[in-house]
Symmetry: C2
């Protein structure tokens, strides 16, 4: 902090500086720290996520708006997975000297369009010249009523396991891109335009419907593994019940990442749709520590084989 | 968030995971977000700062402990400049595949020693494999009584201008390093082991002694310029009054950066020492917008010529 003038990221600055202080952000960009007010009786949530060129995105695969959108989605999705509300975002952004201004403008547009959609002011960050590729680190601060955050721990044997939306679309897109295919954004909206499930997460928390929750960012098998580990339980998943994205295989859905859907355990009755988002029951929580995949009447051990960054 | 297992940063993990939840950090590393509790009647402060190899440090100039220490100092110093108290830190860290584990251990040691000294738990972050050099982004969250943060705006004509500690040591060290000199840590403690002025900042805020405050991270001329701009005032600085580090020139002190001292305006009587740190009066706030340097009975225009990253 703060964003110094020495770097021309006008695309970000010009839109960010338009009076984005308000009820929650008392002091935004332009001081040593941002000053933020939390709602009374709330705790703070904080999450940070890198978006690094060549690791989380590739400039030849992902347009600047897509990179900006996905960058903020990563942070907002973590807030959703706690049942929280986003309060403000902070962006640390290092750019190579020769990056066209057009790229920066596109990145800012993608990020800020999503920020506006969720009413999350960009309240600060840092800028630098990058010695290598484009480096972004997004920080999102959120709030949740004290003691009410939905953790990964909390699932109990007998709970049902649910997932929002559809899975595997992002991994399928990456596979197609790797094969050198022409990939249209419309065919893979889950990859190019993932939506953080803030409203669903909030409602699940308010109604006490989720005993444990995580967002599917590293792949269903890995993220379910985190819930099992933190809760000290096992899980059985019905392969046939997993909601697949249009071009996704079961493998994409199980082990692909970047879906940004919510995976949660519940003892209660969960509606089949929440805030317009499908919610699907895919299995149940069991005793022990094993994860099992049920497929065609047979049982397979489900191992965490999470998403690997593409180098 | 969270720190995934896929990267072996054992040096950080093993020390970080030792029960660092507590009164303020309700949930630390290991969930989608950290959950933090602020003291009653307090607002949140948030600051983010990059430490990028080749931009903010060089591996041949700075040992890993120094890089870790300076990385966290950048964040804590911003909290100090608001008169706040640090609550928790978050580290996003991307490391090249071939980096020796020893480097990571040293970095963690430098960062965590300082964190322990200020009782700031590392409550989360992100990790990734870096496509280039070492990339760190430190986030510090702090707290301050509601409405009491000391901003850059607030200085008024007639206020005196003060600075803590000594200036220019860091710029002098960089100059010596550039000239290929052997530079000992003992000769330039301000560069290799800067201390964030948390206690001083807090006391100034508690006693209402600072009308405006900033930390000297970009150089006195630039940071004073920020206070003048935000406060709508000018300033006169006595060259002879500026407390110089042992090997520093006036130019180092005026335009060097990375000092991490506090620069503030005050209408009140400020003690010459606070919490063991010298506090020196170096000038006064005047009407208008100009910054003037008084030297040998003559007046010079003082232009903001802040610190440039060494590429």
């Amino acid at each position: 902090m703060p964003m110094p003038e020495r770097l021309l990221i006008e695309g970000v600055r010009s839109r960010v500086l338009r009076g984005r202080t308000g009820r929650r952000v008392r002091v935004g960009i332009g001081d040593d720290c941002a000053v933020l007010r939390l709602p009374k009786g709330h705790e703070a949530l904080v999450t940070t996520d890198f978006s690094l060129e060549g690791v989380h995105f590739r400039r030849d695969w992902h347009g600047p708006e897509v990179v900006g959108h996905r960058c903020l989605t990563r942070g907002l999705s973590d807030i959703a997975a706690m049942g929280g509300d986003p309060v403000a975002a902070f962006l640390s952004l290092a750019l190579p000297a020769k990056l066209p201004q057009k790229w920066v403008d596109g990145f800012a547009e993608g990020l800020l369009d999503l920020a506006n959609e969720f009413d999350v002011p960009l309240a600060g960050g840092d800028t630098a010249q990058s010695p290598g590729g484009i480096l972004a680190d997004i920080v999102v601060m959120g709030s949740v009523p004290t003691g009410k955050a939905v953790l990964r721990a909390g699932a109990k044997a007998g709970d049902w396991i649910y997932v929002t939306g559809i899975l595997g679309g992002s991994a399928a897109a990456i596979e197609a891109l790797r094969r050198g295919k022409r990939v249209s954004r419309k065919d893979y909206p889950e990859h190019f335009h993932p939506m953080p499930r803030i409203a669903v997460g909030r409602l699940l928390r308010e109604r006490g419907l989720a005993s444990a929750m995580i967002d599917v960012s590293d792949g269903l098998s890995t993220d379910l593994g985190h819930i099992c580990e933190e809760s000290g339980v096992g899980a059985e998943i019905e392969a046939g019940a997993i909601p697949l994205a249009r071009k996704a295989t079961l493998g994409n859905a199980l082990h692909g990442g970047d879906d940004y859907e919510l995976l949660f355990a519940s003892r209660g009755r969960v509606p089949a749709q929440i805030q317009g988002v499908a919610v699907t029951r895919i299995g149940r929580v069991v005793r022990g520590r094993k994860m099992t995949l049920l497929r065609g009447g047979r049982r397979f051990e489900l191992k965490a084989k999470g998403w690997q960054h593409f180098g």
